[in-house]
């Protein structure tokens, strides 16, 4: 049966395929975002415990919160780099004209 980790890896591979085949720059940035989405799914699936609760109050079984927090940081990096890449693409188009 397919679980979240394997789904995440498949999504990452789709993003890598996009980077290998697409020539359009915006599509390449989108492919990078697809990779990061796959990565987030991989990590969140990694921390999931069957029947676990939100780890805020003391409870019996909780999901592992660490992978989710790590992914929050990766998302921040992703956002920053996406906006930087878009800005560079805009400037590049203007220079080439």
């Amino acid at each position: 049966m397919i679980n979240a980790e394997i789904a995440g890896i498949i999504i990452m591979l789709i993003g890598l395929y996009g980077l290998m085949t697409k020539k359009d720059l915006i599509k390449q940035v989108l492919a990078i975002n697809v990779i990061s989405t796959g990565l987030v799914l991989f990590f969140v699936g990694m921390g999931y415990v069957e029947g676990g609760e939100v780890p805020i109050m003391p409870q019996q079984t909780v999901v592992d919160p660490l992978p989710a927090t790590l992914m929050l940081t990766t998302l921040v990096v992703d956002v920053a780099i996406t906006s930087l890449a878009l800005a560079i693409i805009l400037r590049m188009r203007r220079d080439e004209r």
Binding site: L16, M20, K23, L39, L66, L70, I81, L84, I88, D95
Partner: protein
């Protein structure tokens, strides 16, 4: 106390940015920038006596918090970063003073300082990744700020390749976390068992870090990015930013059980990188690209240290290379600024004794000639190495010297009168004196073997010149769009990753 090393430049980065938005006079921004660049030095002098040092940020338990430390491995990376950044900050005050957005540039430089320092002190794989990303993001922006044609393109290529590599690195870190439950390098070491997943994680993480270090089959972004950036930024990129992945490799080497076969493959990659860099240096005409290819070649030596389990040699060589290459980029930058050309043949250093002396010292030092610090790193690398490998490394040393003989030959040949700014002449000169002083401090004496090396390098250069290879105009150029280039590089990267993965099966 260790987190203060990182917190001070970060605080000043935001202060510079704040004062820039408020529109205060440029003098104040410049003062804040210099304070931010120097502040880690003060902290460093405060804790210098107590090395090796260990700390958990926020005072939590070791299994829960982020460990930072300063020991005999990373203290040399730290020192190289602090020295080089100090020189670059003085240099860049002159360099960027006419620039319209210089407040933003100073802020980005300080952020890069933060990222580099944070990566070098961290003992936690994820924390290391975050700081490496801070340094790289500011590097992308600083490359894109250059006015030169093609700089944006180089920045975009670097961005996409480096970002893909870091996602693969985080993926590998996730696999390690899945198997061991820790992110801390020491705790991973304590609880790891050899397994297939760990082998896969090691392969992916190493190929990602090799891309970020610019080692041969994955070097394709490096010459463009390092040659199109503004000169002080090139010095930082080539000097110390490519050393951050090397520190990551050392962390992984210390925490994961790597197989013998994997290390052998890494050694082959390192040798390929050394010789590839030398060949391209001999035919390259753009002086900054020449130095960038030299970085590809020298990173081969550093990775060689990792692959032969010679951590100390790798660390000292990285330290020496950071100082030498940073100073070379700074002095060449002063020449380029004064003579407005980047072709090796059109440049000359005859008009300026200080620049001439420093470039001569640095070219000898990078070839591993004796009284300089490069020779110490090289002698440590040679320790415990098998005989045939040592002879190959001697040949590589001669190759490097041939390439730098070519550089000095062209720089000596023509004579031009020019005026370099004194703030741009002094930092590289002081760095080259430091290279000499550190070499003497580590007990290097003049070695007669080196004269043989230099003479054979000069003979090699004369022979090559007679055969006409050097004079020939070898221009190898893709006439492709950026998107197609990225497709090709990405395919090479993934094939290399697969190759590394297959070594463990």
């Amino acid at each position: 106390m260790i987190p203060l090393l990182v917190a001070c430049p970060l605080l000043f980065a935001f202060l510079v940015s704040l004062f820039d938005v408020l529109g205060v006079r440029a003098k104040i921004t410049r003062f804040l920038f210099l304070t931010g660049a120097i502040s880690p030095w003060i902290v460093f002098f405060g804790i210098r006596e107590k090395v090796p040092l260990d700390e958990i940020v926020g005072g939590y338990a070791k299994t829960a918090g982020i460990q930072v430390s300063l020991d005999y491995i990373n203290v040399y990376f730290m020192l190289a970063e602090l020295i080089l950044f100090f020189a670059v900050s003085i240099y860049s005050i002159e360099y960027f003073s006419k620039h319209r957005k210089n407040g933003k540039i100073y802020s980005l430089l300080l952020l890069m300082h933060t990222g580099l320092l944070g990566a070098f002190i961290s003992r936690d794989l994820f924390n290391y990744y975050i700081y490496m990303e801070i340094a790289s993001v500011s590097a992308f922006a600083l490359i894109a700020i250059s006015e030169e044609k093609g700089a944006k393109r180089a920045a975009y290529k670097y961005l996409i390749l480096s970002l893909t590599a870091s996602y693969l690195f985080v993926f590998a870190v996730g696999m390690i976390y899945l198997k061991t439950g820790y992110l801390n390098a020491e705790l991973i070491r304590g609880s790891i068992l050899p397994s297939r997943e760990i082998d896969v994680a090691a392969g992916i993480a190493f190929s990602a870090l090799l891309l970020k270090a610019g080692v041969f089959p994955l070097h394709s972004w490096l010459p463009d990015a390092h040659s199109k950036a503004p000169d002080p930024v090139s010095a930082l990129l080539s000097g110390i930013v490519v050393k951050v992945p090397v520190y990551g490799m050392l962390l992984l080497y210390l925490s994961l059980p790597l197989t013998k076969r994997f290390l052998t493959v890494l050694m082959v990659v390192a040798f390929a990188s050394i010789f590839f860099g030398i060949v391209l240096m001999i035919v390259e005409r753009n002086i900054k690209k020449f130095l960038a290819y030299s970085t590809v070649s020298q990173m081969g030596y550093v990775v060689l240290g990792v692959s032969t389990s010679n951590i100390l040699g790798s660390v000292y060589y990285a330290f020496a290379h950071a100082l030498i290459k940073g100073a070379l980029f700074l002095s060449v930058g002063a020449l380029i600024r004064a003579q407005r050309s980047k072709e090796i043949r059109n440049l000359s250093y005859r008009g300026d004794a200080i620049l001439m002396l420093s470039i001569l010292i640095l070219s000898l030092a990078i070839g591993g000639v004796s009284p300089f610090v490069g020779a110490y790193g090289k002698s440590l690398l040679f320790e415990g190495m098998k005989k045939p490998l040592e002879y190959i490394l001697y040949i590589a040393g001669i190759g490097t010297l041939v390439a730098f003989t070519r550089l000095n030959y062209y720089l000596l040949k023509s004579r031009e009168n020019f005026n370099a700014y004194s703030l741009q002449r002094m930092p590289p000169f002081l760095l080259s004196l430091l290279v000499l002083a550190l070499g003497v401090y580590y007990g290097q004496r003049i070695d007669y073997m080196d004269f043989v090396l230099i003479v054979s390098a000069v003979i090699g250069f004369v022979l090559l010149r007679r055969s006409g290879i050097i004079e020939k105009d070898i221009r190898y150029r893709f006439s492709k769009t950026v998107g197609e280039e990225i497709n090709i590089f990405m395919t090479v990267f993934l094939l290399f990753t697969l190759f590394l993965l297959l070594q463990n099966f």
